[in-house]
């Protein structure tokens, strides 16, 4: 395992959705698309992992501009959603889905913070060849990829001095549970997910974490 800096040189603004966007999460997402198995995807991430903690930093970037973007999705319950997801009537039959009632269809608006950046950078300790193999075909990262956000112009990997856990000033580079953090304890403390799956509440703990750019 080598200490590396991975850089995504961006072509379009990107949307994180508010998370830390750690590099292990990015690779686990790519691997999940290939393997379709959460456990197998996490086990295959080519990054050093100590008791569940991946040596991979959060995404680091300097926003040049930030704006709010909103998307409206028009739901058509009778053909956009699986009818099995809807509650049945008391007699066990399914209520007929229609287009007349507001609850059967409608517009759902989601808004996001979009960030214009030159590049996103991660410090990791991992296998450079395996990492390159995984990221090279990836041309979009973050949320709303299908809407054109987060397009990567190209990727680069260089040698680094950082292990993906603490920075030059001993600050945390990713969420690290307080009892496992060996760096500067004046750093920011938050309730955050520190291991994948990052969306699962069971993986949250009080962590030292980097400040996310606002």
């Amino acid at each position: 395992m080598e200490k590396l800096t991975v850089t995504a040189h961006m072509k379009t603004p990107f949307i994180t959705g508010g998370g830390y966007m750690t590099f292990d999460a990015l690779l686990a997402g790519i691997l999940f698309d290939q393997l379709q198995d959460v456990e197998a995807a996490h086990a295959s991430v080519p990054i050093k992992c100590t008791d569940g903690l991946f040596h991979a930093s959060a995404a680091m970037y300097e926003p040049l501009d930030q704006s709010r973007v909103a998307f409206v999705a028009n739901m058509r319950a009778d053909h956009s959603l699986d009818a099995d997801l809807f509650p049945r009537k008391k007699d066990g039959t399914m209520r007929k889905m229609g287009r007349l009632r507001r609850r059967d269809f409608g517009a759902v608006m989601n808004s996001y913070d979009s960030k214009q950046v030159d590049s996103l950078e991660w410090h990791v300790e991992g296998d450079s060849e395996e990492i390159l193999k995984l990221i090279e075909p990836i041309s979009f990262i973050g949320k709303r990829r299908a809407s054109g956000f987060g397009e990567v112009h190209h990727w680069s990997i260089e040698a680094s001095e950082l292990d993906g856990l603490t920075g030059y000033l001993n600050e945390p580079l990713r969420p690290i549970p307080v009892e496992r953090f060996k760096g500067n304890t004046d750093s920011l403390k938050v309730d955050a997910a520190w291991r994948p799956a990052y969306w699962h509440p069971a993986n949250r703990a009080i962590c030292y974490a980097p400040e996310t750019p606002q």
Binding site: D113, L188, K189, D191, P201, R204, I206
Partner: protein
């Protein structure tokens, strides 16, 4: 420390019977109807709650014992808690008609990263700094009230 164990130990167990699953216990406390002091029943569908170790303060007057009830507005109560910050883990909750999902339940452990949990999302802000253009509207209002209190 796990957010959900903290929530259940200091607040949830006073409202609902505890099972083996901490997530389900927390979800049940947040979405179920609870007896009110008035004799009626209601979900946590309005007002606010501030949960600390062995100290839960709620605006809605529930019938449950072991909880402190407080009439102040959400901004007054949260400002007071933050002005008298004791570095102890705290959950700040603001309720609305929709139930607060457990995915929006976060502990605050640092004044530089305050989390206010609401059904619509989690408002995060640095209480040691003035709000910026990109700060949540909740923090802008809270800051305005704080300045008003100080003057």
């Amino acid at each position: 420390m796990n957010t959900f164990d903290f929530f259940n130990d200091n607040f949830g167990r006073l409202l609902v019977e505890q099972g083996n699953d901490p997530f389900e216990n927390a979800a049940k406390a947040l979405r179920s109807s609870h007896p009110l002091a008035s004799g009626k029943n209601s979900r946590l569908g309005s007002g606010w709650a501030i949960v600390k170790e062995k100290n839960a303060v709620v605006q809605l007057k529930l019938a449950a014992t072991g909880i402190t009830y407080d009439d102040r507005t959400r901004f007054e109560a949260i400002i007071d808690a933050l002005e008298n910050w004791d570095n102890e883990p705290t959950i700040f909750m603001v309720f609305d008609k929709a139930p607060l999902p457990i995915s929006n339940l976060f502990l605050t452990v640092d004044l530089r990263a305050v989390r206010v949990c609401t059904p619509g999302g989690v408002y995060s802000f640095d209480y040691t700094l003035e709000p910026t253009e990109n700060s949540p509207q909740f923090y802008k209002t809270l800051y305005k009230q704080r300045m008003k209190n100080a003057s």
